[in-house]
């Protein structure tokens, strides 16, 4: 399953976090601490949306850089590196879509969080992957399920 999605600025300050697994605040903070330790030196290599991987405590985390933000997607069990990398695509597409007017900056993203959480709610539900096509995500997040899909991106 997908365990969490964290979005930070380039200094490592968390601007968005969503945990799908039932872990307490202490465990969350421990995970974040380790994540920072294990990946900080490699953030520079994740420019241009290059997906990087780290693995510790049985969790695989794929991370990348989009605009001013760092994204970390953590999974376990059947969610291996390649699966998480694939899940990243609709998330990044959504992120870019909601920030398309002003670009993916920290400030802009914070302003757009209300929209982003609805997109994300269509992509991941209770740790399970749901929609992956941006068009479906857009339609479903605004309750326009009856809109026909214009193009097949699968």
């Amino acid at each position: 399953m997908i365990n969490s999605l964290l979005i930070t600025n380039n200094n490592g300050n968390i601007v968005f976090s969503k945990y799908y697994s039932n872990i307490n605040d202490e465990k969350q903070s421990e995970y974040e601490k380790l994540l920072y330790q294990f990946t900080k030196d490699e953030w520079v290599n994740s420019k241009n949306e290059k997906h990087l991987v780290t693995e510790f405590s049985g969790y695989i985390t794929v991370f990348t850089n989009v605009g001013d933000l760092m994204l970390f997607l953590c999974g376990s069990e059947e969610m291996d590196e390649l699966a998480l990398s694939d899940v990243f695509f609709p998330i990044i597409e959504s992120l870019k879509d909601i920030c398309k007017k002003k670009g993916v900056t920290e400030q802009n993203f914070i302003e757009q969080i209300p929209k982003f959480i609805l997109y994300l709610d269509e992509i991941i539900q209770r740790g399970h992957l749901d929609q992956v096509q941006l068009e479906s995500i857009q339609n479903y997040s605004s309750l326009k399920h009856d809109q026909p899909i214009k193009k097949d991106n699968v």
């Binding site: 994540l35 330790q37 699966a83 959480i117 479903y140």
Partner: protein, 877 residues
């Protein structure tokens, strides 16, 4: 992470966009924040209580614009159960889709407090709203309501029945035979009309609802299994996942029901074989096949015809065009035993427009070959630079080496994407063809070009692929190594082998300090020196006899050996620590179970130790894997001993001595004299090495740990303790000789005596402790010797108080032990003891065990302080 970042330090606080910010104290004084992070709270101008109040008020007043803005503000926080009533009210009164979607989002969030929803009014409200939504003409409201209510509604019989009724109504047509309905042609597969599209959407929402609530409901079994054919790709994915849940409980029924869906199965062709468009649905189907194929049949743990089809489907999935799916199939396959994998094959695949996601395969291929080809194709595509020579002197630290590549091992078809990467690699190769001989001759323009190309190549690397590929190679190789390594016929333990032959070979190749044969640029073995070594080795081979046990393992060719070069190259091209860790772990298992053939690997691991940028955890991971490897193949222990020496010698600050001691302990437990001799030689070499003054403190800590290890294991290493000697006999190849133990033990004791006189007080303290442990576990002669030494030990230097008090406790205990021994020994020899004497003996035994136990983490349960003679009396009632 925000708390950790030094540079972050909440410096953006003043850049709040609007409103009056909360004072920092208020934000950080509270141990908890309802906001997703303290940092985010500092960047927004609201707080949870404020927003919650605003939402409640606007819901009371039915102010739609305020409701919407409050819900938006609430998205920055983690909501609590007390908002349920307000959220339900909003859903009830609003028609605005944006507001409604947000309200349903929060209703979904509240589902984590489902167990707290026990108020009858709340339950009634949830049911009323759900029923109302299901009657709504808007399909969106039906979909979102069904999905959300299934997760938030508490476990209640009436609610369950209500939701189940709706789901059954959607997945079955009223009045028809429920199990035949879904089989009707087009029920799940047609969605060309608006009605069909609506139906597939509702089916999708039913499957999501089932995942949230009814995972193994028997009445929904058939509709869910049939749902695998659902035209909505996401719906089909959920249906497969639900089917897997059923399979966990009842594999045989699910196997019989789902067999008809297996793609590429001849019997299914043109019938019900499913083409799952969504790659994640295919991954789920692979997981299902993996479970069904691995389920033992009722007649025994064998692959029957029934699960054979599922296993074959897994093999065929290796040819899935989507790399993630193909590699997931390999991952699932890796859980099967090596003989199963070795005998499996991938059937030829002809292009089929109905199943376009499978790559064509002209001929039937062995599964292992198929996997290797898939790996190579992946490496060609994603580990660019693997076949090029390049340099990047001023680039990233890991890319400063000249790359020695160009192996001719690549086979199989290469996809079009790889041609672009290889062409760029060729450009690099030609640009550097002259540079590789003399890097100083590179002009600045050439260097710039190289750097640009290097950056370009770096961006083409797929870290997720490389990471997973290395892991899978490691797992599969491990399976092969463990299966193929010779086992003792009686104990089924891996044989220890004979290390003496290989020892001679190693002496030719590398002595401490090492690296004479390494390329100064690449850190890889110098081909010239390697050739020399191999010629030397050949000579040695002709003069030395190899044992039959080692030769049997060395003769077999590792099935994944063709991937070795690709992984070695990764160490040169990838700056990612995670990738390097996985690559090293894969190399540990790719290493042949033969000391002679493992030299390349030894030198590769050595060169990694010299990289100043490698973090401590990389070495821990590497040595942990090496530790696992020597348990599986003890023959490689000399190689690991050399690496352990280097680890301590080159980078003491990054050395984990507890792991080192575990490795040594494993070697001790092999129970062979020559293994223990080699181990002792290695330990003495570490203790005797000249330490650079900068590392003096670190070296002392390491020395302390080694002395402690000697204290705990000297008796086992030297077979001093008779009871352990008996245990060792059972181990294959054990050839203990009592006379050797004295020599080894003497040399250990002499060293410890030396340390307890001439070293800093910390080392003296540890050495005395170790001497005591040895004394407690040894024969009377050794006990007396150590007792004498400790009583005469000078205590004059700094820290003497601690050392002296510790020594006096040990001396007292030893004194008691020897006195008791002297008291009981004549009685043991004379005749049987009376009941009172036995009682006294037991008291003495218990008292001594209590005192001596203070010096050990865990005193052995069969420890006999009064000697082996006391055993027969202590056991009596």
């Amino acid at each position: 992470m925000s708390e950790l970042s030094e540079s972050g330090s909440y410096n953006s606080y003043n850049s709040l966009s609007a409103g009056s910010p909360l004072p920092l104290q208020e934000i950080f004084n509270g141990a908890e924040t309802k906001c997703q992070s303290h940092y985010l709270q500092s960047r927004i101008n609201t707080n949870y209580e404020q927003v919650k109040q605003q939402l409640k008020e606007s819901a009371e007043k039915k102010n739609s614009s305020k409701i919407y803005s409050s819900l938006q503000h609430l998205t920055y926080y983690k909501v609590e159960k007390d908002l349920l009533e307000t959220i339900l009210r909003i859903i009830d009164i609003t028609d605005d889709k944006k507001t409604l979607r947000l309200a349903y989002y929060f209703l979904g969030e509240i589902s984590q407090f489902k167990h707290l929803i026990n108020n009858s009014t709340e339950i009634k409200n949830i049911t009323t709203i759900f029923n109302k939504e299901m009657q709504h003409k808007d399909i969106s409201r039906k979909v979102v309501s069904l999905k959300t209510t299934a997760s938030v509604a508490p476990n209640d019989v009436l609610i369950d029945a209500n939701i189940l009724d709706v789901i059954s109504g959607i997945l079955r047509k009223v009045g028809e035979d429920p199990d035949k309905t879904q089989k009707k042609k087009g029920f799940f597969t047609r969605a060309t009309t608006d009605l069909g599209r609506e139906r597939s959407l509702l089916q999708y929402s039913c499957f999501v609802a089932c995942r949230n609530r009814y995972k193994n409901n028997p009445s929904l079994f058939m509709p869910i299994v049939e749902g695998i054919k659902c035209v909505d790709p996401v719906g089909a994915r959920h249906a497969v996942s639900l089917t897997l849940n059923y399979a966990l409980e009842n594999p045989s029924t699910v196997a019989a029901t789902t067999k008809r869906f297996i793609p590429l199965l001849k019997a299914n062709k043109g019938k019900e074989a499913v083409y799952l468009v969504d790659p994640f649905a295919r991954r789920n189907f692979i997981k299902l096949c993996g479970h069904l194929a691995a389920t033992p049949s009722p007649i025994g743990n064998v692959i029957t015809m029934e699960n054979k089809d599922f296993f074959q489907s897994l093999c065929q999935s290796v040819m899935d065009a989507h790399l993630s799916v193909a590699f997931y199939a390999i991952n699932v396959l890796s859980r099967f035993s090596w003989p199963t994998l070795e005998s499996a094959h991938i059937d030829a695949i002809q292009f089929d427009s109905e199943l376009p996601h499978f790559e064509s395969l002209a001929f039937q291929t062995s599964l292992i070959v198929g996997i290797c080809n898939k790996m190579r194709i992946g490496f060609n595509t994603y580990s660019i630079g693997a076949y090029s020579n390049y340099s990047m002197q001023h680039g990233h630290h890991h890319l400063h080496h000249y790359h020695q590549g160009g192996s001719g091992t690549v086979g199989g078809s290469v996809p079009s994407s790889s041609s672009s990467s290889s062409s760029s690699s060729n450009i690099t190769t030609s640009a550097l063809s002259s540079g590789s001989s003399s890097n100083s001759s590179l002009s600045s323009q050439q260097l710039l070009l190289v750097q640009q190309q290097q950056q370009q190549l770096l961006h083409q690397q797929s870290n997720p692929f490389l990471h997973l590929a290395c892991k899978l190679i490691s797992v599969l190789s491990q399976s092969y190594v463990k299966y193929s390594y010779p086992k003792d016929s009686t104990t089924q333990q891996p044989i220890i082998g004979d290390w003496s032959f290989d020892e001679k070979q190693y002496q030719h190749q590398s002595v401490y300090p090492y690296h004479h044969n390494l390329s100064p640029f690449t850190g890889l073995p110098n081909p010239i020196s390697n050739n020399n070594n191999s010629s030397n080795n050949t000579k040695d081979q002709s003069t030395t006899t190899t044992t039959s046990t080692t030769s049997s393992s060395s003769n077999s060719i590792h099935p994944f050996s063709s991937l070795t070069q690709l992984i070695l190259n990764l160490l040169n091209i990838s700056p990612s620590i995670s990738i390097r860790i996985q690559a090293l772990k894969a190399l540990v298992w790719l290493c042949p179970s033969n000391l002679d053939q493992s030299k390349l690997y030894l030198e590769t691991f050595r060169s990694q130790l010299r990289d100043p940028y490698h973090p401590t955890h990389l070495f821990k991971e590497l040595f942990l894997e090496l530790y696992k490897r020597i348990i599986a193949t003890p023959i490689l222990s000399p190689m690991i001993l050399e690496l352990v020496y280097d680890w301590i010698d080159i980078i003491p600050s990054k050395c984990d001595t507890s792991l080192v001691c575990e490795i040594w302990k494993t070697i001790v437990e092999f129970g062979k004299v020559f293994a223990n001799e080699k181990l002792l030689a290695s330990i003495f070499k570490i203790l005797d090495r000249i330490v650079h003054p900068d590392f003096r403190v670190l070296a002392m800590e390491i020395q302390k740990d080694i002395i402690k290890f000697l204290g705990e294991y000297s008796n086992q290493i030297t077979f001093e303790q008779p009871s352990r000697f008996e245990q060792c006999k059972s181990r294959s190849g054990s050839n203990q000789q009592q006379h050797l133990s004295n020599m080894s033990l003497n040399s250990i004791i002499q060293r410890l005596q030396q340390y307890s006189i001439f070293s800093p007080w910390q080392i003296r303290l540890e050495s005395i402790d170790s001497l005591a442990k040895i004394a407690f576990q040894s024969s009377t002669v050794v006990k007396v010797h150590i007792y004498n030494f400790l009583t005469l030990l000078p205590n004059e230097s700094h820290g003497w108080t601690t050392v002296k008090s510790n020594t006096s406790i040990i001396v007292n205990t030893l004194d008691q032990l020897l006195t008791c021994r002297a008291k009981w020994l004549p009685l043991f020899k004379s005749s049987d003891l009376s009941q009172n004497q036995i009682k006294d003996l037991k008291n003495d035994h218990t008292n001594l065990c209590l005192q001596i136990g203070l010096f050990f983490d865990q005193l052995s349960f069969d420890y006999l302080p009064l000697g082996i003679e006391s055993k027969k009396y202590l056991g009596s009632k």
